[in-house]
């Protein structure tokens, strides 16, 4: 044996790493740059995701512009099987790396044999697609590309940013060094490079990170139980591609005369695609990783082109039972019922804190499209778009909402709509987006300085971006504690001008609980939630 052998699996690993790097590059490049629209290829990976295509079509009866590119993935899967999972999926690569670190190269044969539990992912997919017929888009929350992008946006990158910012700031203030040689002459340029090329908002942080991080850590940690646990048992995109890989043209073939049934191939199998001493092969579970052909010492194993009509021994299809499918469908629809049969789900009440991004569709339509991928949160220049927890119900888990206290909707930005891969947030020109009302600002006169304390303050009015000003002052006489009568300016909100951008709430002198707060009332997307119609002159006859 030669000291170095360029194996098929090595080629595959190079391809995998390239896709992972590409994904990370697209992730890092997706940031708001002044005077520029976000690049179209920010959505590149989502364009190629057929699960997004199908779910959006089923739930929202809509085809977005990325439709054709996802068909490329469909075509490749029909020809070659689930190679997307084995060669391209960045989350799959992360699982592979975790599995390798935990287990080394091989696992015991038993751990890599097919388990009937691997059918779970198909039943989950069926159930969720059945719910999708009634407008549920929930399954895409667990799409691997979506969940990786969201995890990077909401947890990983902010954690890296925290480390860079805090460490460099500590060094900046302590300014260690010897004579003219300062440590900051290294750390400050490094920090500025990070700030100018990678960072979005200083001190960026997100709500609901605990759940998102815990979910991600759990699925990666489960590699300790089974390699690619997520891909084998849960992944809805994997299940979708597995169904497409029902009878691919490229199939495994074993030369039965030379095979000793040593099961070396099975020990190295990533997808647990074989059983019966690795003799029975399931194309729907095979990730095309080519570990088996590399492992086989006798060369009795290979992949060959075989016409779909050609029957083949020892190839098993996904054997989903009719009863199981029916139960899944009923289960999915029942779950949807549980999510929607709530006062908010029935639109009897509106959550004041559910302020959706500008251009978001009406709530049911929004939920029929939103994948909670986090692209909008990544490009928000103020960091105000945050993942929901249960503000929109269970169905709206991790979907974006504006939290004005953290960041407002910039009057000069329309990026969230431009990047949304499913147009849950409609793309609009800036001028049109400026007309969209996200909510209405309301003064809390028990806190607002001029009302409650009789002093002038104008921070909210100063920041109001509407050229005609949605916040204005009326002069009022107040009596001080000493009996002195003083004229002060008291701010008011003009409902015909306020668009609910939330900058007033964001900049209010009260850092704990603002004296002016935006709620979802008057949001453009729900006429029924209008409280103070935006009429110019309501009292004229």
């Amino acid at each position: 044996m030669k000291w170095f052998r360029w194996s098929s699996a090595r080629t595959r690993r190079c391809v995998q790493l390239s896709f992972l790097v590409l994904f990370l590059a697209a992730f890092l490049a997706t940031r708001p740059l002044p005077g520029q629209d976000p690049p179209g290829w920010a959505k590149l990976f989502f364009w190629f995701d057929p699960l997004l295509l199908v779910t959006t079509f089923v739930a929202a009866h809509a085809l977005a512009g990325f439709a054709l590119l996802a068909l490329v993935t469909v075509g490749i899967t029909l020809l070659l099987g689930r190679v997307f999972c084995g060669w391209a999926c960045p989350l799959g690569t992360i699982h592979d790396i975790a599995g390798r670190l935990i287990h080394g190269k091989k696992s015991p044969a038993a751990a890599n044999r097919y388990s009937p539990w691997q059918k779970a992912k198909y039943y989950v997919l069926v159930g969720m697609l059945a719910a999708g017929l009634f407008g549920a888009h929930w399954i895409t929350i667990f799409d691997p590309l979506v969940l990786l992008f969201r995890t990077l946006t909401v947890t990983v990158f902010p954690a890296v940013q925290w480390a860079v910012e805090e460490a460099s700031a500590a060094i900046y203030h302590a300014d260690p060094g010897i004579g003219p040689v300062r440590v900051t002459s290294l750390t400050e340029p490094a920090y500025r490079a990070f700030r100018d090329n990678l960072r979005v908002v200083e001190k960026q942080a997100f709500l609901a990170t605990g759940g998102i991080a815990a979910f991600f850590i759990t699925i990666v940690a489960l590699n300790a139980y089974r390699r690619r646990w997520w891909c084998r048992y849960v992944c809805p995109l994997g299940a979708f591609l597995g169904i497409l890989a029902w009878r691919p043209l490229l199939r495994r073939k074993v030369a039965s005369d030379s095979c000793t049934q040593c099961e070396l191939c099975g020990m190295n199998c990533h997808g647990a695609a074989t059983s019966d001493k690795a003799q029975l092969w399931r194309p729907s579970e095979c990730l095309g990783c080519l570990n088996c052909t590399d492992a086989c010492r006798r060369g009795s194993l290979g992949f060959r082109w075989i016409w779909p009509w050609e029957r083949q021994e020892n190839v098993a299809r996904v054997d989903l039972s009719r009863r199981g499918m029916l139960a899944s469908a009923v289960g999915g629809i029942t779950l949807l019922g549980l999510c929607r049969a709530t006062p908010q789900g029935r639109a009897r009440v509106y959550n004041p804190e559910l302020i959706r991004p500008p251009g978001a569709r009406p709530e049911p339509d929004f939920l029929a499209r939103c994948t909670a991928c986090g692209l909008c949160m990544k490009v928000c220049p103020t960091g105000g778009l945050q993942p929901s927890w249960f503000e929109a119900g269970l169905e709206g888990l991790w979907t974006p909402r504006l939290v004005p206290k953290i960041g407002y909707c910039s009057y000069d930005c329309n990026r969230c709509g431009l990047v949304c891969p499913t147009e849950a947030i409609r793309p609009m020109p800036l001028e049109e987006k400026r007309q969209v009302r996200l909510g209405l600002a309301v003064f809390d006169t028990t806190r607002c300085i001029p009302y409650a304390y009789g002093r002038d303050c104008m921070v909210c009015e100063e920041h109001c971006p509407i050229p005609e000003k949605a916040i204005y002052f009326l002069e009022a006489e107040v009596t001080t504690r000493d009996g002195e009568v003083r004229r002060i300016k008291q701010p008011k909100v003009d409902p015909s001008k306020c668009i609910g951008c939330g900058v007033c709430e964001n900049v209010c002198v009260f850092r704990d609980k603002s004296a002016i707060r935006v709620t979802s009332a008057n949001e453009s997307r729900h006429p029924a939630n209008e409280a103070v119609p935006a009429w110019e002159e309501p009292y004229g006859y």
Binding site: P34, K203, S410, V459, E462, K489, V509
Partner: protein, 313 residues
């Protein structure tokens, strides 16, 4: 943007000297004597309604003339100095909205500083709006970077709390590079402001601090405290375009006027008083002017300084 070359500038300065509009001093030979004027106002008297490009040119000329008249930039900048130029870059607004300092004014000052031998010129503000967008839209980085100035983003985590021992403000986080600079040139734009009534030079210093939200509850006193601590040596007020209503953010061209004037001087209170009049106010209506006057930071009767008035055409 069009700027005069150094050669043009020399010629123009010489010509200006010859016709006596700026007295006996030319820009490059200016040596501040003990009697150098404390304030100068350069006013455009040429044809009205100039185009946007002409405005840049006019702004440049006015800036040069006003600074020349108070003794030239070399009265303030020594060879090898690090200079911080502090324009107002608070908002995501283009120059024509008069919400940020005119880029031509800032660029001209940067150029003069380098010509006077400054080692480094830093330009920066602590914007209210999203930082990089406000910088980009203001047009200031694009105007000053080619001249060699360093455009600084003030990171919040770099501010350092300083005891300023004022009447109201005991301590405040200030951006350290501003304090470390040999000279700070304050380059505000004159604007209407809904509460401070106007915002000009003293208020422009709110752009080097953090924790500024509560300032507005006693705007005159807090600005006086800050100005007293910073001890500004020179301010150049941009009144080329001014915002007369719905300030400080603006956003309507109807609220923009074009006085086409620049005032430069050493007395920040006097400059604010002058700007108040430009904006149609009386100095005694402006709390920061009154407080600054009472605290002895300058005089609100700017005419008592006998400002040099220069007509530029």
């Amino acid at each position: 943007m069009v700027f005069a070359s150094r050669r043009d500038f020399l010629l123009q300065s010489a010509a200006a000297a010859a016709v006596g509009t700026v007295g006996a001093q030319t820009g490059l030979s200016a040596q501040a004597g003990p009697n150098a004027p404390a304030m100068a106002i350069a006013q455009w008297k040429g044809p009205k309604a100039p185009t946007a490009q002409e405005i840049d040119r006019i702004a440049e000329q006015l800036t040069i003339k006003a600074i020349e008249a108070i003794g030239g930039i070399s009265r303030f900048v020594r060879r090898g100095d690090v200079v911080w130029v502090k324009p107002n870059i608070a908002w995501i607004q283009p120059p024509e909205m008069a919400a940020n300092t005119n880029p031509a004014v800032v660029a001209t000052i940067v150029r003069l500083c380098f010509e006077a031998g400054a080692k480094q010129v830093k330009v920066g503000d602590n914007p209210v709006d999203v930082v990089d967008q406000a910088y980009e839209r203001s047009g200031i980085p694009a105007a000053v970077r080619p001249l060699g100035a360093q455009v600084v983003i003030m990171d919040r985590s770099r501010f350092r709390r300083v005891d300023i021992k004022g009447e109201r403000l005991k301590s405040i986080p200030i951006y350290p590079e501003v304090l470390d600079a040999d000279l700070v040139i304050n380059v505000p734009i004159a604007k209407h402001h809904s509460l401070a009534t106007i915002t000009v030079a003293m208020k422009n210093f709110m752009g080097v601090v953090e924790e500024r939200r509560t300032f507005h509850q006693a705007i005159g006193e807090t600005l006086t405290d800050l100005t007293r601590f910073l001890q500004p040596k020179i301010s150049v007020v941009d009144a080329v375009r001014v915002l007369v209503a719905r300030g400080p953010r603006g956003g309507r061209l109807e609220d923009v006027r074009m006085p086409l004037a620049i005032a430069a001087g050493t007395d920040i209170v006097a400059l604010d008083a002058w700007a108040a009049e430009i904006l149609g106010r009386k100095p005694e209506e402006i709390s920061s002017v009154v407080c600054g006057h009472k605290a002895g930071l300058g005089t609100m009767d700017y005419r008592s300084l006998k400002p040099v008035e220069i007509a530029v055409a």
